[in-house]
Subunit: 382 residues, 4 copies
């Protein structure tokens, strides 16, 4: 016999078969009175709160390049970028997250579109951002006066609370992937935001300054009295370097996939305390081991063609697609041709807070379904 649902929280505790009417009434009264005092019993919801394993609300999902570009194209004429911190940014909203514009509970994923000659004005915020250029070139992201040019495959950082703006100096439009820790910082009530004062764009001190200083191979400038920063002083990571390192790793390995992490050159830590960035190269044969980890990721397909199996569902992907792997989901990657993936992850958060776990499953997953873009609504609602 269930407790009458007179209170707004779920009740899972069953009373015994011999519960008297009086007892039920008393409990109902108790719950009502607790509720009035902003108190809630744990015992009615402990099995929901304390699950055997993580049960993320976010679900595995994929957005196709064609959809992203088509929608961006429609936006470019209708939506102008005006002063006020605005950007022409389209967020990937995980269908499991109740309409919030978040890819996972901790990660924001979006595409940003800047037309030829357009610019996005300067501002700063405590959420940290990374930009990964999917296609194109000709745009500069200026961070604290350092104008970093952006080319396909490059990673550009805009660390917390540093003024940044974007300027497309070419005639052609440009689009890139934006990854932020906005959902996390928002959940932690740590959002601060400020527009660059007086002008749209901040003054430029120089071009690719951080690259000149910190872009070496395991060498860093010797500066008296400098101390390590929690975020990387290197703001740009070039695809030519990434590709060379991936090639060296793949050449030294028999594995179907090799991965590298972009790091803070003066500490070896993740580029940001809240976001780890990785590049992966798939050999075009074999399948990576089935792994689960606490923490979520967003993958951007940079080149190639293949699929990933996430919790038994097969997600086919090709260049320009973006997909989400929730916490504790089981994942395997496989490519038809040599392929490069870029990913962001909240793993540094999990590690810093002592919450990280990972397992490699003994058996490959059995594929139980195919992620079908057209039928995906059905998938969610089922």
């Amino acid at each position: 016999m269930e407790i009458p649902v007179q209170v707004r929280f779920p009740t899972s505790t069953a009373l015994g078969p011999n519960a008297s009417e009086r007892e039920i009434a008393q409990i109902a009264d108790l719950y009502t009175d607790l509720d009035a005092l902003d108190l809630q019993p744990l015992w009615t919801q402990n099995t929901r709160l304390l699950t055997k394993e993580p049960r993320p609300s976010a679900i595995p999902w994929l957005w196709q390049r064609s959809d992203l570009w088509r929608m961006a194209d429609r936006c470019k004429d209708l939506i102008t970028i005006s002063r006020g911190g605005d950007r022409r940014v389209i967020a990937l909203a995980n269908p499991g997250l109740d309409g919030k514009p978040f890819a996972t509970p901790t990660l924001w994923a979006a595409i940003q579109y800047l037309g030829g000659g357009e610019s996005a004005p300067g501002h700063r915020h405590t959420p940290a951002a990374v930009r990964f250029v999917i296609e194109g070139s000709g745009t500069f992201t200026t961070v604290d006066g350092d104008a970093c040019d952006m080319r396909a495959g490059d990673l550009i950082l805009t660390p917390p609370w540093q003024f940044h703006d974007h300027a497309n100096e070419s005639d052609a439009p440009m689009m890139w992937f934006d990854g932020l820790d906005l959902p996390l910082v928002s959940a932690l009530d740590g959002i601060f935001f400020e527009q660059f004062p007086h002008e749209d764009m901040q003054p430029v001190r120089g071009r690719n300054i951080s690259e000149a200083f910190y872009g070496g191979r395991a060498t860093v400038p010797h500066v008296d009295g400098s101390t390590a920063s929690p975020y990387s002083p290197l703001l740009v990571y070039r695809y030519t370097d990434t590709s060379e390192s991936l090639a060296a790793l793949l050449g030294s390995s028999d594995a179907p996939m090799v991965s590298l992490e972009y790091v803070n050159p003066i500490s070896g830590a993740s580029v940001l305390p809240t976001i780890g960035c990785h590049a992966h190269r798939l050999a075009g044969k074999g399948r990576s081991a089935p792994r689960r980890e606490v923490g979520s990721s967003v993958f951007v397909v940079f080149r190639g063609r293949g699929h990933s199996i996430i919790n038994g569902i097969k997600f086919a992907w090709s260049a320009g697609d973006i997909f989400v792997v929730p916490s504790w989901a089981c994942v395997e990657h496989s490519a038809d041709v040599e392929s490069d993936l870029f990913s962001i992850t909240d793993r540094p958060v999990m590690k810093a807070l002592g919450l990280y776990r990972e397992v490699v499953e003994q058996q490959p997953q059995v594929v139980t379904g195919l992620f079908d873009v057209d039928a995906r609504r059905t998938l969610v609602t089922s």
Copy 2:
């Protein structure tokens, strides 16, 4: 002219006064199509997402000792503790958090009641817990075989993923404050839970073992090859010691309030990576400086009488009351008589992730209202 609300996300971008019907229709179509593809424009919600300062949903709130004890008393006869991880726990649900049983977005606060001779069975979970004994004695919390006795004013830790159970060996009921990082771990999709296998209660290896080993004054046992743990190996912090340290601090200071942090004796870090625990003694005169910080706290009044001003509202408190300070709220404390407060905070999280900020305001707050238990609903809804 507003964009028609045909899409489920809020739209704040105003079109110009000369926007044509056609343009409005096109944008409406665009939003509908974006929505169908699980995409969301940033520009319609950026001012809500990126606020000048944190705008917590959680609100300052206070629960009175009399309410807590009265409700606990009613629970004790109606709700029995049965096998299955159940505990007679009543959570303090912040009215700003949409009915979730959480005190703040990161912290769980509750009272736990155990009748004379009762016991709460063994389990473990990745959320970490601290217990602060408000009144009474006679109960043991056993953590990984170490039976820690609990007395008024003591702090007891149950670190992540360690089996723990509670046993009241006395005839009298006992109640204590439970603080957990459950909301945070839940938001990060990192919950794991397990009951102690086969039996209700785990075997006891000894009593207060960690206290014998790690309870010294700045001395730790020398154990070959040991390494620091992310959480404290000392599981109990005695009120007699806390009180003595607070007295020494107050005696060396002219400040109206002195504070200490309970720390991990082998690293000096917060007792848990996700929860910091503090004790405060108010001199019974003066008012602490008005401070704001990123991160939320829950305060338990252990002894004394006074009030705190939080965002202009005066919260009167006395022993046994519990109150919440959300992120970036401005806070001042003042006591009528010498008073002790215990608090938990998510500050270690903010610091680990580089999100911590604090300011001391130049001017004391102007009191604009009084937190009135009876009228508090009004307060929330206004």
Copy 3:
């Protein structure tokens, strides 16, 4: 046939039996010419430089309380303490160290004697010091204005570059053990020294201030913006606390010896980056496991009676004796009655530099000799 010793460095390389006179002469010329250019061949001395295991010059040694007190007593009338950084300090000079006043290559060990009413003037230096009171009370060591009273069994720190002086306010003389990293800092060419300006003694801000602030049990004062220091902010560690902790450890253990480390309460690290301090209680039965470690130690017998076996030699000791354990020496301790030892070690240095190693030998040592104070010269010269 040996290379003629025309050069000042040892030559161990043997020429073959068929070496010609001409070849020998050429090599002799080569060595002479190298020497003239301040060059030295490695191959003549590599077996001496690169040994299979550490071969310390320092040797195990013991100084008896009776000798130390007798000599201190003779000094007190003949040697007055005058301005100029002087102290009535008698250093324990390890006979293996070529007349240097050092106990080991890294550690200075001495006794310091202060007559009733005497004081030792203020100065500061980069070498760090610890003081362990063997007997008596009534003296204050003032460190940066904090007058720390010294009682038997207490440990007092005078961290690097902090002004310190000593004042005996009683009528009775007082003697304590001084442990410094002076040999190490000297070898590293890092010595700086300065007398307290203008006056003999620095002003006193208060008594036992650090104890009031940092003397809690795993609690530390909460101070805005404070950061961990490389040396402990707690300057005094009381014997009553040490003894209580040792008793708790011994009570929880079947081992013949328990040990604790005095730590920096805000980091859990050794009290100083260069000196670790430990207290040991021997149960009065059994023998500790035979251990070797890289790094040297000096032991002060605080109470009790027993012996230690060091590299096969048995060193009998009783209260007030001081003995040295060189690097990689094999050591076992055994007590006839419950006994307390205090020790300083350079282990933090070895760990910081990645040089630390330790082994526990499977078999107890065979005793091959007895350290005989009268016959000890013979021991050294043999």
Copy 4:
């Protein structure tokens, strides 16, 4: 009136003019008796032990390329490399260090010569080594199976306790600079040494493996469960990269000298816990600021021509020269043409132990002398 020098330690304490014969005799007896008990008074030597500033025994010194190559050339025919850990290594012996084969109290500096087709057999030791190739190519240093090829300007690491050997696969002889922490590890009694068992040379697993894995620009391989090592996993740092980074630094700066540090890519720390490695480019104009620091360095001139002023003495240098800067010496560098210097330093030791200090002097040094190779003996003895 001086104390009679009947004791072996220096006595600096002067007795007053009215000291009686009896008093002098008593003190002489006291010192004799102390000496017999291996005790030494501090007051006779404190001004020598505790100096106002560091007074290194090591002196600034320079070895010329022509001398080094000439002597190496003479050695190559007379000294063969045989099994037994031998190497054809000529150590630079600082004239201030009493005939020890050490460049500074902490650093070993040497040149190593390997004839065409020769090899130096495998061994390992706890002292860490770095190799900097002054000229030539064609040699492999194999470290734990990873054969690292060595070319002019490259830095190669052989971390502590890793088996390493050298093989010259070319027909031409090769010479490089060896830098070790041998003096430090020796002073700390931490030397362990072992020959590679059974064979002269260890098996080769591959060529430049560490470079393929860790040679990226601020990217590191993602390996499950890996943890940071105290020494760099990257064993080779290429001159082409160093030169490119130096050029970028110089191009972004008006300074007469820019410096970079080679770092451990997974921690950003110095390449070894005991040795820091730096590269410097001098613009060929101006003079670096006069600096002092605690800790010693050895500089290798890789290319160019210039001079350094060390404690007022001008040391002219050109490619292939090696010079020493002792602790706390004042140093300025200046180049006639664009020049590259490589240096090793014990700074990581000083920082780890809290002993590091540095100052930049306000005024350039007045040159008081010229380091004259022919007249240098005079300099030492004066």
